[in-house]
């Protein structure tokens, strides 16, 4: 165990390369329980479940690629990844934040109900499915690049924002919005999704109401973009006048009409 100093503050360093996940995570749990508040994991190469279920205010910096279910079910913790993350980052998390300088895999933010996930690059499929929101700490997921199919499926609360930072939009009528895949927002019954650009109806699966807005017109959107820019040290001011499509559910009971409730 060594200590290093980053930004003037002492950090414990865990050399993680080749360490089996069970050992690595046991060590992290031990250090966090002992009150260590800043950890640097060097050479992470796909270890799963880092930070899973942890509580508290510790900050975890990760160099390398974090494996599946990073920060799953956690409540607290601030995780910063200098690299990519595999599937399931922030799965069912209920508080804290995960900031990723690279891209994220499938099911990022599945069923999360509180805290922040900021992804600088792209995110995979099935992202933000069944997101919810706590009253005291709303759930938000901001994707700097693009997202795949089934984004925001069954969404019940919280906010998803897709910025498409490096993607110029030259949209013709009815042409696909390149920042998202198919089946956007199917079964959505709560929360809000903002996607940069316009979205043709055929790309949306859910019974949602859509509207056009800009960050300048929409203070919550502005706020999430600012937090994203601050968290990742980026300049996003060029986005403030861009058109975004805002999606909200039409009703809180998307499937009620499928059932016969009589008798």
């Amino acid at each position: 165990m060594i200590r290093t100093t980053v930004g003037g503050r002492a950090m414990k360093v865990i050399e993680s390369k080749g360490v089996p996940y069970r050992e690595l995570n046991r060590e992290i749990r031990r250090l966090v329980a002992a009150g260590e508040d800043r950890l640097l994991l060097r050479g992470v190469n796909g270890q799963r479940y880092i930070g899973a279920g942890l509580k508290g205010m510790a900050r975890l910096e990760i160099e390398g690629t974090a494996g599946n279910n990073l920060g799953a079910m956690m409540n607290g913790l601030s995780i910063y990844v200098h690299g990519n993350v595999q599937d399931g980052a922030g799965n069912t998390m209920s508080g804290g934040e995960i900031v990723v300088r690279g891209s994220a895999g499938d099911i990022t933010g599945y069923a999360m109900r509180g805290g922040k996930i900021l992804i600088q690059g792209n995110a995979g499929w099935r992202v933000g499915i069944h997101m919810k929101s706590r009253e005291d700490q709303p759930a938000v997921l901001v994707i700097g690049g693009k997202a795949g199919d089934f984004l925001g499926e069954y969404m019940a609360g919280g906010t998803i924002v897709v910025l498409g930072l490096d993607t110029p939009l030259h949209q013709e009528r009815e042409s696909a919005n390149p920042l998202i895949g198919n089946y956007l927002a199917s079964g959505m019954h709560g929360g809000t999704i903002y996607i940069r650009g316009r979205i043709p109806a055929w790309q949306i699966r859910g019974q949602v109401q859509t509207g056009l807005t800009t960050p300048e017109e929409s203070p919550p959107l502005w706020n999430w973009i600012e937090q994203f820019a601050a968290g990742l040290h980026l300049d996003c001011s060029g986005l403030f006048r861009e058109i975004f499509t805002c999606l909200m559910p039409q009703g809180a009971r998307p499937y009620a009409h499928l059932y016969d409730h009589s008798a």
Partner: protein, 505 residues
């Protein structure tokens, strides 16, 4: 609005000679059947009656009777009244018919074709009133081998054992969420579980803070909607159960109708008040056994390997292979929920036409796990339609370690099986959130009834075992020699792994 063709399912008969117009029925019916007419007589709207028997039981003069309305047309052996009614209803609503509780159709009940053994002369029976009978059981993963360390005379187990949970008798209360049932009902189950030294299950609705004192007897469930799942919830449970499926609705999601989602439930689940609480059909982070393994290990990591992780599936045709995969994925307990398993709400066609009776499911899974050398590593829990201590013992003989009780527990609390839990109007105060109804279940008195039921079953269990000359539940598990089939064809006997009645040991 055009006239409805759907005739009432039940008819309310009031004996005017006995009726004192006390209006108890008006207050008691959750479905708004009884009303005071202009002529100060009490009338009934048959169309709304679900035959829950609340008014009949509560009427102080016994003036009420409910009968099934059979005379609805030329029903015959093929086109039953129920089929006619379904078609008329759907022709009017265009919707899938909802129902509640377990499959009620006339499929073979294997429990009723199995007979237990007893000792006579050559191996004496045991008197349970005189001899201790061991009906405790432990759930959780069993180590393949034990390593012993330490100097001679002071040998100890080297390394920790996997976490296990002790049950004072081989039953637990099945997952029923706060939301599908009332808080008072959940509390009655929790109190009874604590008093009996067994477990209850939060279901998928999260944990109400009132359950704090019962956490040592609590199984917390993680379902596809992940309602209320956070680190505190996982920490609170003694066992964590991943719900993949439910016997009453295999392969489809859960669906708590918005009518039942009041402010307290919405808060526990993290969704808007009045919104449907939707659990998607699959967990969208589990599309394979390998994915399941990741959720199992996420939960183990999140709780520092301190709790057994159970995986509950609906019994379906390929159940043996699936269960084998689940054990290999790292589950410590496998729960099989059979065709007769209850539910707060399910589409009727799904409930009645998908699945496998739990007797067969347990038998084939137990056999498969034995063949593969995996059976000793995990615990097997049976759910879905256990009606008596005899069913309980039979399912243990077929290979289960313990069984879940859902419907039987609600019946003990007063449920009359009207199958309308999904409406949220339960006159018995169980499957409802209406405060004027929920107060009908008193948690303490309810717990007493549950404790009585289980105490009676405990006694019966010991008598059964004593009769067989077996004094430990351990020796009953998977002990098919204690069973014989009556009236079953050979291939069914083979699937169950039992011999024909009349065949000797």
């Amino acid at each position: 609005m055009p006239r409805s063709l759907v005739p009432p399912e039940f008819l309310v008969h009031r004996d005017e000679g006995r009726c004192t117009k006390c209006k108890a029925c008006i207050r008691q019916c959750g479905f708004g059947v009884h009303a005071e007419g202009p002529d100060d007589r009490i009338s009934a709207n048959d169309q709304r009656c679900v035959n829950c028997q609340r008014c009949v039981v509560m009427c102080p003069t016994g003036a009420l009777k409910i009968t099934a309305n059979k005379e609805i047309g030329r029903e015959n052996a093929y086109w039953s009244a129920e089929r006619l009614r379904e078609i008329w209803r759907q022709a009017e609503s265009g919707g899938a018919i909802l129902t509640s509780m377990g499959c009620d159709r006339n499929y073979p009940v294997y429990f009723d074709h199995l007979l237990l053994n007893a000792s006579q002369v050559t191996n004496p029976s045991i008197d349970p009133l005189r001899e201790p009978m061991e009906i405790r059981t432990f759930l959780g993963r069993k180590p393949e081998k034990l390593s012993i360390a330490g100097p001679p005379g002071e040998e100890r187990l080297a390394g920790p054992l996997p976490p296990e949970v002790r049950l004072e008798m081989p039953v637990m209360f099945a997952a029923m969420s706060f939301g599908s049932i009332s808080k008072n009902t959940v509390l009655a189950l929790a109190k009874a579980a604590k008093r009996m030294g067994i477990m209850f299950n939060t279901g998928e609705g999260g944990m109400n803070p009132a359950l704090g004192p019962f956490r040592d007897h609590m199984i917390v469930q993680v379902a596809s909607g992940r309602f209320g799942v956070d680190s505190a919830y996982l920490e609170a449970g003694r066992i964590i159960e991943i719900k993949i499926g439910q016997g009453a609705k295999p392969g489809i999601g859960g669906h708590l109708p918005g009518e039942k989602v009041n402010a307290e439930i919405a808060r526990t689940r993290g969704i808007p008040t009045g919104a449907d609480a939707i659990s998607p059909a699959p967990h969208h982070d589990i599309y394979s056994i390998e994915d399941l393994r990741q959720l199992i290990y996420t939960l183990k990591e999140a709780t520092d390997y301190q709790k057994p992780v159970a995986v509950k599936i609906a019994a379906v045709h390929n159940v043996a292979a699936i269960a084998s995969g689940i054990v290999r994925a790292g589950a410590d307990i496998v729960v099989l929920d059979g065709l007769r398993g209850g539910t707060g709400a399910a589409p009727k066609m799904i409930r009645d036409h998908i699945g496998l009776p739990v007797e067969l499911a347990i038998a084939v899974v137990d056999r498969r796990l034995r063949e593969e050398g995996l059976r000793e590593q995990v615990s097997l829990v049976a759910g879905g339609g256990i009606r008596s201590s005899a069913d309980l013992l039979k399912v243990i003989c077929l290979g289960a370690d313990a069984a879940y009780l859902g419907t039987a527990a609600l019946l003990a609390l007063g449920c009359h099986l009207c199958q309308r839990c999904y409406t949220g109007k339960c006159s018995w105060g169980i499957a409802t959130q209406d405060p004027s109804l929920t107060k009908r279940v008193d948690p303490e008195a309810g717990a007493d009834r549950l404790v009585n039921l289980l105490t009676a079953w405990q006694h019966e269990l010991k008598e059964f075992m004593g009769a067989m000359g077996i004094n430990a539940l351990e020796s009953m598990r998977g002990n098919r020699l204690q069973l014989r089939g009556v009236g079953l064809p050979q291939n069914e006997l083979d699937q169950l792994g039992v011999k024909q009645a009349g065949e000797a040991m």
